[in-house]
Amino acid sequence: MNVRLYVWQRLTAALMVPLVLAHFAVIFYATQKGLTAADILARTRGSVAWALFYGVFVLAVAVHAPIGVRTVLAEWTPLGSRSRDIAVVLFGLLLAVLGFRAIAAVVLA
């Protein structure tokens, strides 16, 4: 961990605090109301707001999570530094790709 990774990890963490709280609210609302897939999709289809909200969330987590995992791999596994760094970058890309695919799935018609 160095200052560059630290700044990125802490900034994305701070950014995600309000996003997580909003996400909790959304989950509670959806489960309380017993929303079906159709109900959810009716709300998300064509919504720029939802796309932006979750787009920012996906980007933030795709930066934040790999940095944390990198530290755990460095401290708790015998993985070499090159393999470790490649692995976490791939993990970040995986999160970004799957995350944007999920957003596309619920926002695009």
């Binding site: 997580v20 909790f24 989950i27 079906t36 999709l41 944390g68 995986l94 799957l98 999920a102 596309a104």
Partner: protein
């Protein structure tokens, strides 16, 4: 020599909980995104999945995941406070409060299911 001899301080345990919850969330997230991606093939697949999640075991797991997210975020807030605000005593108590708050989130979610 006991490896856990002096690792009983609430602050140390809070750091471990923070790390383990982060790992669990990191493993869970790709599956979460995949589940939502089911909507690509139309609502039927997503609906089928949502109905599958109505089982008690799945609901408990969802509650646990929410708890993990809550405890990870609270642990992170603890670190942001520690690193950026004036040093304060009584952090052990705050760390315990954070874990309790996360558990409350879990129970509220579970209770809302009943």
């Amino acid at each position: 020599m006991s490896l856990l001899a002096h690792r009983t301080s609430p602050v140390w345990i809070a750091a471990l909980v923070h790390r383990l919850s982060g790992l669990a969330l990191a493993i869970f997230l790709p599956f979460h995104f995949l589940a939502l991606g089911l909507a690509i093939s139309g609502e039927a697949k997503l609906d089928g999945f949502l109905r599958w999640t109505n089982q008690p075991l799945v609901k408990v797991s969802e509650a646990v995941l929410l708890g993990l997210l809550a405890v990870h975020m609270l642990g992170g807030l603890r670190l942001l406070a520690l690193e950026n605000l004036a040093w304060r005593a009584g952090q052990a108590r705050l760390a315990l409060l954070a874990i309790v708050a996360a558990m409350i989130v879990v129970f509220v979610f579970l209770a809302s299911m009943l």
